[in-house]
Amino acid sequence: MAAVLKNLSRPMKHLRLPEFQHMKSYWDPIENVDVIRILAGECYVTHCHEMITTVLGSCVSACIRDTVTGIGGMNHFMLPAGKAERNGNGAVHGLSADAAYGGYAMELLINSILKYGGRRERLEVKIFGGGRIIGGIADIGFGNINFIRTYLRTEGLKVVAEDVGGDFPRRMAYFPATGKVLLKKLRNVRNETIVQQESAYLTNLRREATQGGEVELFGD
C-alpha cells in the first residue's frame, strides 16, 4: 500500500516537456523524487519536482530556474578546444567554433525554460564544474569556467552560487523546483572513468564543431 501511495506522488512521464520525453529516469526513495541523470552534451528542463544529477570533471553545468514558476534545468558541456576568444571588452565573439558551441549549449537550456513560461528577468543561475582533471589539456576546465562566466555576464544573468575549478571532479544534484543543489567533491575517487568519458566527448565535439549545424536552402 505504501509503495502504491509513493508511486502516486511520482510525476507521470507524460507530464514531461515534449523535448525531454525520451530521457530515462529512476525513483529515489530517499529524496522522494524522480531522478534524471544527464551526460556530457545533454540538457534537461522540467516543470515537475524532479532531481537532475550529473558528474562533472572539466565540463561545466549551468543550473537555471525561474524563481516564480520553478521551471528550470541543467546542462552539461565543455568547449571543443577549451577556450572562447574574446574581444577587448571581455565579451564572447565568434571567430572560433568554441564560443558558438558554448553559446548553443547555454541557449538550449535557457530557450527551453523561456519556451515553457520562464521569464528572463526572473532567472536564477548557479554554475559548477570546470575541474582540472584531464592531463595534457589541463586548461580545459579553466577555459570552460571563463566561457560560462563571460556568457552569463554578456546576457545580463547574475550568478547566485558557484563551485568551480579545483583539481577534482564533482557529483551534483539539482532540484529546479526549489533551486537546491547537492554537491560532492570527489577528492578520493579515481578519475580514469571520468577522464575517458570526457575525452571521448571532446573528440566527438571537435568533429561536430568543425562541421557545425545543418544548413538547408529552400530554393524556389
Partner: protein, 120 residues
C-alpha cells in the same frame, strides 16, 4: 560587402554572428527581437536578414512574414539561425518565406559560405 540585419535575443549570439560577419567585411545591424528588427527594417534596407526563431515580443517566423509584406523586403534573402531543427519548424519557416535554415551551433566558415551563396 553587404548590409546584414542580425536578429537574436541572445546578446552573446549577436556578438558572435556580428564578429564573424564583420571580419568578412560586411556591415552589420543588430536587433534583439523581431519587433525591434521590424522597426529597423521599416526605416532602413538590408541586403540579407539572419534571424533567430525563438524570441520574445516577436518571434522569427512572424518577423519573416512581416518582412515579406514590406515591398523592400519581398525578395531579400532571409536566413534563420536557430536551435530548432524539426521538419515542422523548418516547413513553418519555409511557408513564412525564409530563404534557408541554419541550425546552431553555427560554424563560422559554413555561415559565411551560406551568406555568400544567398547574396549571389
Amino acid at each position: 560587402m553587404a548590409t546584414i540585419l542580425v536578429v537574436d535575443d541572445s546578446a552573446s549570439m549577436r556578438q558572435m554572428v556580428e564578429f564573424t560577419l564583420k571580419e568578412a567585411g560586411h556591415q552589420v545591424i543588430v536587433a534583439e527581437d523581431g519587433q525591434v528588427a521590424l522597426n529597423i527594417a521599416q526605416g532602413a534596407s538590408a541586403d540579407l536578414v539572419i534571424t533567430d526563431v525563438n524570441m520574445p515580443n516577436m518571434d522569427g517566423i512572424t518577423l519573416i512574414k512581416e518582412l515579406r509584406a514590406l515591398p523592400a523586403y519581398k525578395f531579400t534573402p532571409i536566413l534563420t539561425l536557430t536551435t530548432e531543427s524539426t521538419t515542422e519548424k523548418k516547413m513553418e519557416g519555409k511557408g513564412a518565406g525564409a530563404t534557408g535554415w541554419i541550425v546552431k551551433p553555427f560554424n563560422p566558415e559554413k555561415l559565411l559560405a551560406t551568406v555568400n551563396k544567398v547574396l549571389g
